[in-house]
Symmetry: D2
Subunit: 342 residues, 4 copies
């Protein structure tokens, strides 16, 4: 299948190039970059030095089977007619088509310029929308912090444990979330070693979480010293505190057949809980929990690679489902150990 | 004044040696280490290469004015008679004398072997116990995570905002908290780049927080990739949500005369909230907050250096108060900028 | 093919498990660990959580097609008869069979207990020994620092530029080189942020470099803050200084057909020279150079992942060659961008 | 004394503000920043949150006793008349007045606009120019990489061991060297975890090294993952190889009375050689060496904090000498242990 990537010189776009070029069913034919047009993809993404492809100009898109768009919020909605005309399947990685209604969009972002297409957008997580994804032709890949949170809380939502519960989500994210280029705040001397509150209140991913799970959460994100990764710690105070067995059942029922969610419950050793570095470079979401009986609290941990399960990997996974090919195609990498701060 | 440090080859002990040796009123005469007896202090702590002092054996303690004890939990209670005999002022950095009653101690730790001395112990934070510290002769320096949390929440406690509030505390800590030596979990390949849940429930610092503030908190700590530092993010859901002005007033009233607490409320720039790296090496606690009206939540941020305000600095500060000398003596270092991951 | 890994709970052993389990021609049937026998491989290597295999005891080895041995120096020589009896192909990752003669071995290490097998050992780098590897049944995977150096300098050796040249090699390596477990020096608080001279003189990898290239080098290694990676900076002062064109020709002739060596000569952008993080997780060696006319010096840069091209990846590559299967089988991963400090 | 800092919002300027404001003889009255004029110094440098001073415009300089200029290369030469008019002592931290002659300057930089002042400039290192500094009124603080190299090699130069020796210097530097702001190359995702060749040939600090020591060196710098710090590894091949005793004598004679140079020769433990993190935040240069008899090589290690001994600390030290006050005034900080990647 002929596949293109718009916004290919950015971090997420580069990750898509990596995944598409190694995908058994995909052929990466186009990678656009306004700034780097005519330069090799490998000149920007050093891992792809061996790839024989140059960036093309975003205005020069030909017919494609699949188009991934890794552009800033607002770009896809402007070009959505054109993109859908060019490609049978458009997978957008911005927020443009994540929310189900124009009203929701307007509440959290600025006005939407292509509201007619909103109903066609399917939220990309197969763990929640596998059936709607089959045959979809407009897919909206979720936000990385929202993805980590949603996957952590979904078992509790399905089991009714979130009904009436108070939920606080404290997320720790890596610097790739800020994108390439960066200003003073993301310069190495300022950004390294941080535990820096980031969007401590009013984070727009709250909208996705509420839409997908039906629960309102107090959400705060922190930048920490890693490049890739998002870890959501969800502090849940249910109306009625479940037992550990109930919790295990809820998580198992939710995820036992999911190829990209791993339940983590180490009884010993170093890696007893989900950690983002254990999933770096992979499409896995590792989830686990601990019961705090003293405080009537369930603490859920969810760890993903924000560049993979949190964006590019999720997008490819959803495309695989939409196209009816092997869900795991192109996403088999198991990650590294040991690994520092990917 | 003649000052000694027990447990001087550990991280906290080394920090005490650094502070005491540079203190204008203190003379570091004894630094004990069973393992490194007769070696120079600088052979273990490379920052103290210029210090002309060798570790002595802990059994060879002479009379002192002040004795700081940086030993594992349980050591001070075993030797408390001897220590108090030797020194006019004993400052203990373990948990042995932090809790006000033997009952409390037994609930969170194993049995106490010197309960008669418990009533003499004063919790070290001058921001809470300045009057009791004056003239004290047994001081218990607080836990680092507890200290960060207590200093963040105290303004809300004083203003009554914590009464009936639900409170979740999510702490991020550096690797020095684990102490020198370390096993597999703290080896560099395993420990670097982590966001690792650490004591996700049942953390013993909850006892100190409850004792000092009268509030029960859902507490979870995470190891992150820094050596020094503890950052507490306190998610507070008050019964009645205060306004931003009320919050400012609460924080100002609490801390406007405190030499080691800085209110952080940047309106722009990189450093708008408290961050541990901005206080690394210093005795400051930086505190700040944000109001989340949508969720009825006050998010309080508190950042300290776990080795300083979280242990050795707090201990020296308390000793200064107890001895009636300048509170800031020996604690004037302002920290560095830029600084990576201290 | 039935493949086993001895020493599978260590870092290199875990990397072998990862590569073998994902290899299209290999079937990982045995992974031994004395310490973790009967525990799952994923309990030690969190990236392999999905792998359905438990460590077995090293005494319980059955017949295999290929046996990879990732044990400390000295183990393989003790068991070499047994290993070669069990498996058609033994690939050893220690130094036991790297040097061509017992005399060389004795000069740099302690006495060899199986000198009769030394002549059978083939040094693993296919870039130097592809023909001898075909059909070999005892392969010695090289040292990581030696590998980086040898691959950097080989083009100059082949072109005669090293004849009579003075060569200094300054290597920077990650913490995984120290292996799992680690003591005080490799604990996170001590090891993070370092530029620490490590084996500044007399490094035993000098022996391999001299054997493979016929040149004696002044060699110094430094530990730096990454987990994976080895970067060799080779300062070469040739008797006659070549031109840049000559150098390009030398590097191209040497490596134009090599699947795992990439010449790096960026004319702009961030990644203009070889860097270990650009090859993390991959089997690539990135090499490049710069001519210093003022000082009559050629500076060669060579970057590898010490766990991959520097050990486990090199071992699998060599096994592929020895077995006559696709050289790149199981080694296709292209690496990540961005990536922090893998 | 009334002291001002030009360029005070940059990293070096901020470090000068920190040192001057805590200096017992200095009074920081002016800190200029075109970009941040009227904002508090603490809004840019979070460690100085407690400092009651706002940036002023660089055109509004009043009379001063001492003026430190931390501006890009070329600024001081343009304003040198004005600066020397305003202040009795001008300490420049750029390269403008480091080289002794206009010819030298033109060879390594672009044309000099104030050559008449070149003869007045004294190179700041007191270890080399203590006598000339006494009473100087124009001081040129050296480059950080040059400083590390010069202090490492000076004992060998004084002892005649450098005469006719071949010298290669391989430097590892932190990200603060790149200054505040930064572009893509210094953004955290690209810059973290690197071992990145930086100015591999033709580095302009070679000029200073040659001027101060009379030896031409093959010089290559690498960016590594730390914020502060410069470590020079000097590979010296003397015509006649000295013994270890000779080397010790050379180093002792050179530095035994120097307050800011420490000889490091640990016989055990973690910190046996100079390392930048052990001097972070301090004005120390730690130097040490190892003899490589096999290769006829002396390996010298020199570690400094590039922001301190490599710029701001060196500048204050030189000013102290020039002004006839206690050399160590304001530079007493001993550094931290443990410390991550400052």
């Amino acid at each position: 299948m002929k596949v293109g990537v718009v916004g290919a010189s950015g971090f997420t776009g580069g990750e898509l190039c990596r995944l598409v070029s190694a995908h058994p069913e995909f052929d990466l034919v186009t990678a656009t970059s306004r700034e780097y047009a005519n330069k090799t993809v490998g000149s920007v993404h050093p891992n792809l030095r061996g790839l024989d492809l140059r960036f093309s100009h975003p205005d020069d898109l030909d017919d494609l089977d699949v188009l991934f768009v890794a552009a800033p919020h607002g770009v896809t909605m402007e070009h959505v007619e054109e993109y859908r005309d060019i490609a049978d399947l458009v997978v957008d990685l911005s927020a443009d088509f994540r929310l189900d209604s124009e009203e929701q969009y307007d509440e959290w972002y600025d006005g939407h310029s292509a509201p007619d297409h909103i109903p066609d957008g399917v939220y990309a997580l197969p763990e929640l929308h596998r059936e709607e994804l089959a045959g979809a032709n407009l897919i909206a890949s979720g936000g990385c912090n929202a993805t980590a949170t949603i996957l952590g809380l979904k078992p509790l939502a399905d089991a009714g444990i979130l009904d009436g519960a108070d939920v606080t989500v404290d997320v720790k994210v890596g610097s790739s979330e800020g994108g390439a280029g960066g200003g003073a705040a993301s310069s190495h001397p300022e950004r390294s070693g941080v535990v820096r509150p980031y969007a401590p209140t009013g984070h727009r991913h709250e909208a996705e979480i509420e839409q997908e799970l039906g629960v309102q959460v107090g959400f705060t994100a922190h930048a920490v010293d890693m490049t890739r990764g998002a870890a959501a710690t969800c502090h849940v105070y249910p109306e009625e505190v479940p037992g550990t067995g109930d919790l295990w059942q809820a998580f198992r029922e939710c995820y036992e057949d999911e190829p990209f969610v791993r339940l983590v419950a180490g009884s010993g050793g170093v890696y007893r809980y989900p950690e983002p570095k254990a999933v770096a470079g992979t499409n896995y979401a590792d989830v686990g929990f601990e019961l705090d009986e003293r405080n009537g609290r369930v603490v859920v941990f969810s760890a993903i690679d924000n560049m993979m399960k949190g964006s590019a990997g999720q997008a490819v996974h959803a495309a695989n489902v939409a196209l009816g090919i092997d869900e795991q195609a192109g996403l088999e990498f198991d990650g590294l150990h040991p690994v520092g701060a990917p």
